[in-house]
Symmetry: C2
Subunit: 263 residues, 2 copies
């Protein structure tokens, strides 16, 4: 019984089940997929996909709509929101994010480092805020977002070197992709405790981001507000984002050594 | 290849994989579990549990902490927040929930009907709000929560009959568990479009809830605020919750036939 359960193609049943869910995050991402599309994206014969999709549906990980297409199911959401790495930081941060939203009425973001990406744990948005592409659960690059620059700046040196060694995508003319310029920028962010970014990911938007630290002083997340570039009042944004990040860090048990608290 | 993959115990590999995740939602729920606890809760031999937990870890559905215990993983969260039934209503509702929070600084809840429970999609909370047991992803009973009473009141008649036929848990002396009294209460909620509830789930807290309708007029969720019972100003809460629920319904395409909009 200890042997791997594998089909004749050498893939385990588990890996095929996971490939089916992964199909929903393959670009172009889509809220709903046909069985054929799932099978293609997962690299599975239609009959195998049919059987395993049925297993997911019976458990609640997928749902089948009236038009025969499949969607990710609520059971995944229900389990996912209990994942401690998402839940604990989000719970601690939410009151401070709400304060920040109330004070600014702009987009408020909470993100963590996951793999090579900034993963967006929370986004609060007003009715009239500037259109941007972030969403809860989105992954965006570290070098072209405010929260990403903060997360990258405070990552281990090896991680930064690896990240800057790989090709970096340019999204807008203003996106900084030069490793040398990025190194200088990251050093400035470490020194000031604030990242400022403008027109590097979405036209017309600017971001101000600050690090969140846990009890040990380690940076465990980043908070930002994103505003229309023309509305920018950088100094005011810096102060309000700094205060929110400090509040969340305090809620996580962080006590700064000095009044400034930068290490 | 079309045959079910089953082990000698007649359970499919998929069902065992799912049982491992379900172990994290079996009472007493726990953020982290040992391998032994997972195996026991999933009804699996330790060797099978070990192998399948390894599959979940390699995919990101579980993580292994330094102390050897396992937690639900971020990959589940990342997929779960893309589940349309959670994502679409939450996205449409969030700006209105923020308005409601800003106007009241009390707990703000968004819930949907799932199975026999109110499933909490969102909760906004201030620093000083009254302590209550709801959390994002929580399931609470329909008959003892404000959002639950709204969801039950507007459910199909068959569903209501089935729900009231089963034994109903009493949590506090004030919890209404009599099917006759509940039927009367549900009729009042349908007529007024508002549910008022006090001291029925958590001591010291009161809830005011209203239905959210989609384009077709169907009730697809409920929004509430929960306040300290002593602070209660029922009439004011009614108005603000009604306005928020109406705003979310409009965002979902609902247009009321009359100024009142009750059907």
């Amino acid at each position: 019984m200890a042997a791997q359960r594998e089909d004749s193609d050498g893939r385990s049943v588990a890996s095929k089940l996971f490939a089916i869910l992964d199909a929903f995050t393959v670009a172009p991402t889509s809220a709903s997929l046909t069985l054929t599309a799932i099978a293609e994206r997962a690299g599975l014969p239609l009959s195998t996909a049919h059987r395993l999709v049925g297993e997911w549906v019976s458990w609640g990980g997928l749902t089948r709509a009236d038009d025969g297409r499949y969607n990710l199911g609520l059971r995944l959401w229900e389990l996912g929101v209990q994942a401690p790495s998402a839940k604990n930081l989000r719970s601690a941060a939410l009151p401070y994010l709400e304060d920040l939203f109330e004070a600014t009425h702009e987009h408020v973001h909470l993100a963590i480092l996951d793999g090579r990406d900034a993963l967006y744990l929370e986004k609060l948005t007003g009715h009239g805020a500037v259109p941007i592409i972030s969403r809860v659960g989105a992954r965006l690059p570290l070098h072209s977002t405010g929260v990403g620059l903060v997360l990258l700046a405070f990552a281990p040196a090896d991680f930064i070197n690896d990240y800057l060694d790989a090709p970096l995508a340019g999204f807008l003319p203003g996106t900084v992709t030069s490793p040398e310029l990025l190194r200088r920028r990251l050093a400035e962010i470490r020194a000031s405790g604030i990242a400022q970014m403008s027109e590097e990911m979405t036209p017309g938007s600017s971001s101000t981001a600050a690090p969140i630290r846990d009890r040990s002083g380690a940076v465990v997340g980043a908070v930002s507000i994103v505003i229309r570039t023309t509305e920018s009042s950088a100094r005011q944004n810096e102060a309000v984002v700094r205060v929110a990040a400090r509040g969340i860090s305090r809620a996580l048990g962080y006590r700064s050594a000095s009044e400034e608290g930068f290490r």
